[in-house]
C-alpha cells in the first residue's frame, strides 16, 4: 500500500497543489530532496538515468541535472534554489533546457501530520509541492 497523492488545481490559477504523506521522518524526506545522490534515485521518470551536473543547495544556489534515455538522448534541466530552510521549506525554479524560458516555480513544504504510525516511532510528514507558472503572482496569494 502506498499513500495517496492528492492533486488540486485551483480554478483560475496556473499551478497545482500536490499533497503526499511519507512514512518517514520529516528530516529524511527533506534530505532526499537536499542530497543529490538521493535525489537522482527517485526524481525519475522511469527508464531515464539522472545525473547531477551542479548542486549548490542553499539560498541562491544553482542546480542542474541531465536525464539520459535508452537511446542515449539527453535531456537537461536547471534552476535556482531560491529559499532553503532546513526540514521545512524549499522554493526553487525549474526549467527544461529544451523549452528555454518556460520556468516553473516549485515550492516544497513539510507539515507534520497529527497521525502517528501505530507501533512505530517514525513520524509522518506531508510535504506539499506547489508547481506554478513563474509569472503568476496569484500563486502565492492562497499560500
Amino acid at each position: 500500500m502506498t499513500n495517496p497523492v492528492v492533486i488540486e488545481a485551483a480554478p483560475g490559477t496556473g499551478y497545482l497543489d500536490i499533497t503526499r504523506e511519507f512514512d518517514a521522518p520529516v528530516q529524511a524526506v527533506f534530505r532526499a530532496h537536499a542530497d543529490p545522490d538521493l535525489y537522482v534515485q527517485w526524481i525519475g521518470p522511469r527508464g531515464l538515468t539522472s545525473t547531477v551536473t551542479s548542486w549548490d543547495f542553499r539560498d541562491g544556489g544553482n542546480y542542474g541535472f541531465e536525464q539520459r534515455d535508452a537511446t542515449g538522448e539527453v535531456y537537461g534541466f536547471r534552476g535556482v534554489f531560491h529559499t532553503v530552510i532546513a526540514n521545512s521549506l524549499i522554493i526553487q525554479t525549474f526549467e527544461y533546457l529544451g523549452a528555454p524560458g518556460e520556468v516553473s516555480l516549485d515550492r516544497l513544504r513539510s507539515s507534520r501530520s497529527r497521525m502517528d504510525a501505530p507501533g512505530s516511532s517514525a513520524e509522518r510528514s506531508s510535504p506539499r509541492q506547489r508547481r506554478s507558472n513563474a509569472w503568476s503572482p496569484k500563486a502565492w496569494s492562497t499560500a
Binding site: G12, F22, G44, P45
Partner: protein, 134 residues
C-alpha cells in the same frame, strides 16, 4: 492528432480554458445526458440563447461539442472522446506523480534500514546554508 504534440497541446489548452467557465461546464454536464438545442440549453440559465450560442462556439472550437448540420433544430452533441482526452491527460500527470513518490518511498525505506556506515550518515546533517554566513 496524437502523433502531433503541438496540435494536441493546443487542443488541450483550448479545452481546459473553455471549461474554466462555470456556465460552459454546466452546459457540458447537461450535454453528457444527451444532445440539446440552444433553446433547451438556455432554459436553466438566466442568459439569452445568443449568449448560449457564444458559449457553444467556444466549446465547439475546443473540440468538445459538435452540432448537427442538416437538422432544423441543430442540436448540440457532446464529444465524449474529447473529455476522455482531458481526463487521460490528468491521469498521465497523476500516474507520473504517484510513480515518483513511490520511488521516493523506496529511497526513504532504504535510508531507514540500519546499515553499517549508513547509520552515521543518517545522523549527519546535510548542508545547512542558514548557518553558513559566507
Amino acid at each position: 492528432l496524437a502523433d502531433q504534440p503541438d496540435q494536441s497541446d493546443a487542443l488541450l489548452d483550448r479545452a481546459f480554458s473553455a471549461l474554466a467557465d462555470p456556465v460552459r461546464r454546466a452546459i457540458v454536464a447537461r450535454l453528457s445526458r444527451g444532445p440539446a438545442t440552444l433553446g433547451e440549453l438556455a432554459g436553466p440559465f438566466d442568459i439569452t440563447a445568443q449568449a448560449v450560442s457564444k458559449h457553444i462556439s467556444v466549446l465547439e472550437s475546443a473540440g468538445l461539442v459538435w452540432r448537427t448540420r442538416e437538422a432544423q433544430r441543430r442540436p448540440v452533441h457532446l464529444d465524449a472522446s474529447a473529455l476522455e482526452r482531458l481526463t487521460s491527460w490528468i491521469d498521465q500527470y497523476r500516474l507520473e506523480a504517484e510513480a515518483r513518490y513511490r520511488r521516493l518511498d523506496a529511497v526513504l525505506a532504504a535510508e531507514q534500514t540500519p546499515r553499517p556506515g549508513r547509520n552515521q550518515r543518517a545522523q549527519e546533517s546535510w548542508p545547512q546554508p542558514k548557518e553558513k554566513p559566507e
